[in-house]
């Protein structure tokens, strides 16, 4: 047990989240968000994306700063490796979404976290993207996430936090369920 069991602080403002949930039950239209990203080609397989504005709670919103992400492919793809591979960014998105969820759920269940680490692995047969075998899909053949969590809780309670985090995760949903994608050229 922690030395001061009365104060559980994972740095998540659960009251604000629960308040938002209550407010949205009354005003469901405020829950309509739009997320945006912009991507510019740099050279070769190197691109730079940025995010800054989004829409939510009925109005235009902005991040504290513009965030940028370099993406490229490693040398074995005959690329210059100036950033993460896009599929790795998908893993990063999944891991960070689930980990944020772990912290929030643990806070809500009054469980103090000491450390949380996720290790992700995803298999892929590149015969798909290279068009070698049309029966091989382009994407991952599966994703494995392993959590190492140190917290004041039983193994079952920790497993339940991780399960609940998956249940509430946007990226887990995006990765596990189909999404219509519309690509237009202006």
């Amino acid at each position: 047990m922690s030395e001061n069991p009365a104060v559980i602080d994972n740095g998540v403002n659960v009251e604000a989240l629960l308040g938002a949930r209550e407010a949205l039950t009354e005003m469901p239209e405020a829950g309509q968000f739009q997320w945006r990203a912009t991507c510019s080609w740099v050279n070769g397989t190197h691109s730079r994306s940025s995010v800054e504005s989004f829409f939510g709670l009925g109005e235009e919103q902005k991040h504290r700063a513009e965030y940028t992400f370099d993406a490229d492919h490693p040398a074995c793809f005959a690329s210059e490796d100036k950033g993460a591979t896009p599929v790795e960014i998908v893993l990063v998105a999944l891991a960070s979404c689930l980990t944020a969820g772990v912290a929030a759920v643990a806070q809500n269940r009054e469980i103090q976290l000491r450390s949380v680490k996720a290790i992700l692995e995803a298999g892929m047969d590149i015969q798909g993207i290279l068009g070698v075998d049309p029966d091989v899909r382009n994407g991952f053949d599966g994703i494995k996430v392993k959590y190492e969590i140190d917290a004041d809780a039983s193994k079952e309670d920790i497993e339940a936090i991780v399960a609940q985090s998956q249940k509430r995760s946007a990226v887990f949903d995006i990765v596990t369920n189909p999404t219509n994608v519309t690509v237009e050229v202006n």
């Binding site: 039950t25 079952e156 497993e159 339940a160 399960a163 249940k167 596990t176 369920n177 189909p178």
Partner: protein, 423 residues
């Protein structure tokens, strides 16, 4: 007070109850005790849904000793058995007789309006006026088929549990059962056993063992006070009201029915059904997590039962606590199945039911079509609803859970009429 069920004219009455199922009859009995003049309108006959809208093999999920209504209870010689539909119908019809309920059968309410402080109820047999109305028409009038059901591939027959009687009605070939509640598991079990290979699409579900430490799970839930949990005990009432029915079956051999027992029979588990494209059905990759959620949740329930049992003298001699095998999920469950190629001919929507309020012309529904109510008290003065999941208590959706709700609502209604009539 009692009226014969003859062709009496419609008219004025203090309270109208819509529906002569077990909840409507229970309310009727409680109102009679409180000397509230009332009539029960029934579109068909007493226990109509139980007569015509259930599949052949269905038995109650609750044991006979739990079958009780205000002023009436099971008196047979098999307290641990589970009633067949014929027995449920008999039980409810006998109840209607014993309490001499003023039921008008074959009287369908086609419109309920609230005008100038009174309810105007139009039926196929004339117009009623009343000061109060209790909606007791049930929670399971219509099958709730998800939006993905609009795109069922050509050549595949879609069936709901209301159309379904037994496996012989289905074409030979495979069956995709969508939903893993009590309905989905029971039907997957009997359809697979009929020689039609079943694939079951599994979303969030509630896993419960029929028997725990030698006793029925309903005994534990009852004794440990879980079924008596009320609105005040629950953080998230929306979630509690939307829980799928637990994976249980009422069978003679007290069978434990879960996803593991289905896979042992040869049933294939896939994730939640998310879409169709051409003849292919696509499933979510979340199967492992929804199974983990249900396994962990069952574990927590059994923990709380054991905790209660540790201090309960009647549990001293019982079998030791046990834990059940986790749900077995293949390493890579199928994410898509070509129904045509895999000779799946039928889709069975075991995706739940919803009430039908198409006749209710009073603006008391929320944006999802549910009646807004506080423990059965609807915001329109003198309007009540009963028989919905977790109306006031966890047991509200069970037959034995009706009594406490019916008493609370009848008392509220009776006080409402008194205040109204003295105002």
């Amino acid at each position: 007070m009692t009226r014969p069920d003859a062709e009496l004219p419609a008219g004025n009455v203090d309270a109208l109850i819509i529906g002569a199922g077990h909840t409507g009859l229970a309310i009727s009995h409680c109102l009679t005790e409180l000397s509230v003049d009332h009539v029960v309108l029934e579109r068909g006959e007493v226990a109509n849904s139980w007569c015509y809208e259930r599949w052949d093999s269905l038995r109650l999920l609750t044991p006979n000793w739990q079958s009780r209504l205000p002023g009436f209870s099971y008196s047979g010689d098999d307290p641990d058995g589970f009633m067949s539909m014929a027995e449920v119908i008999d039980f409810i019809k006998k109840y209607a007789e014993v309490i001499e309920a003023p039921v008008r059968t074959k009287t369908t309410a086609t419109s309920v309006r609230y005008e100038a402080g009174q309810y105007h109820v139009t039926t196929n047999k004339g117009e009623w006026l009343s000061n109060a109305v209790v909606i007791a028409s049930g929670a399971c009038n219509l099958p709730a088929v998800p939006a993905v059901g609009d795109n069922v591939p050509n050549g595949i027959t879609a069936v709901t549990p209301q159309d379904y009687g037994n496996p012989k009605q289905l074409e030979p070939g495979g069956v995709l059962v969508v939903g893993a509640s009590a309905t989905g598991l029971q039907l997957a079990d009997e359809i697979q056993s009929s020689g039609r290979p079943v694939t079951i699409a599994v979303g969030e579900h509630v896993r419960l063992p029929r028997i725990y430490r030698g006793l029925d799970i309903q005994w534990w839930m009852d004794k440990a006070g879980i079924l008596d949990e009320s609105l005040a005990d629950i953080d998230d009432i929306v979630r509690a009201r939307n829980l799928p029915s637990p994976q249980l079956v009422g069978s003679r051999d007290k069978q434990i029915l879960d996803l593991n027992s289905l896979t042992a029979l040869g049933v294939t588990l896939v994730g939640k059904l998310v879409s169709f494209r051409d003849s292919t059905a696509y499933f979510s990759g979340s199967l492992r997590n929804v199974c983990a959620l249900a396994d962990l949740k069952m574990g927590r329930l059994l923990d709380s039962i054991d905790e209660w049992a540790a201090d309960a003298p009647e549990c001293a001699e019982l079998e030791r606590p046990e834990r059940f095998e986790r749900t077995r999920v293949e390493d890579s469950p199928a994410l898509s199945i070509d129904l045509e190629k895999n000779e799946i001919r039928t889709i069975l929507w075991a995706t739940g039911f919803r009430p039908d309020y198409s006749w209710l012309d009073i603006p008391v529904l929320d944006r999802k079509g549910r009646v807004r109510h506080d423990g059965g008290v609807v915001e329109s003065p003198g309007l009540y609803v009963i028989g919905l999941p977790f109306l006031r208590r966890r047991k509200s959706s069970f037959i034995h859970g009706t009594e406490d709700d019916a008493r609370d609502i009848s008392e509220h209604l009776s006080k409402f009429l008194k205040t109204r009539n003295t105002a």
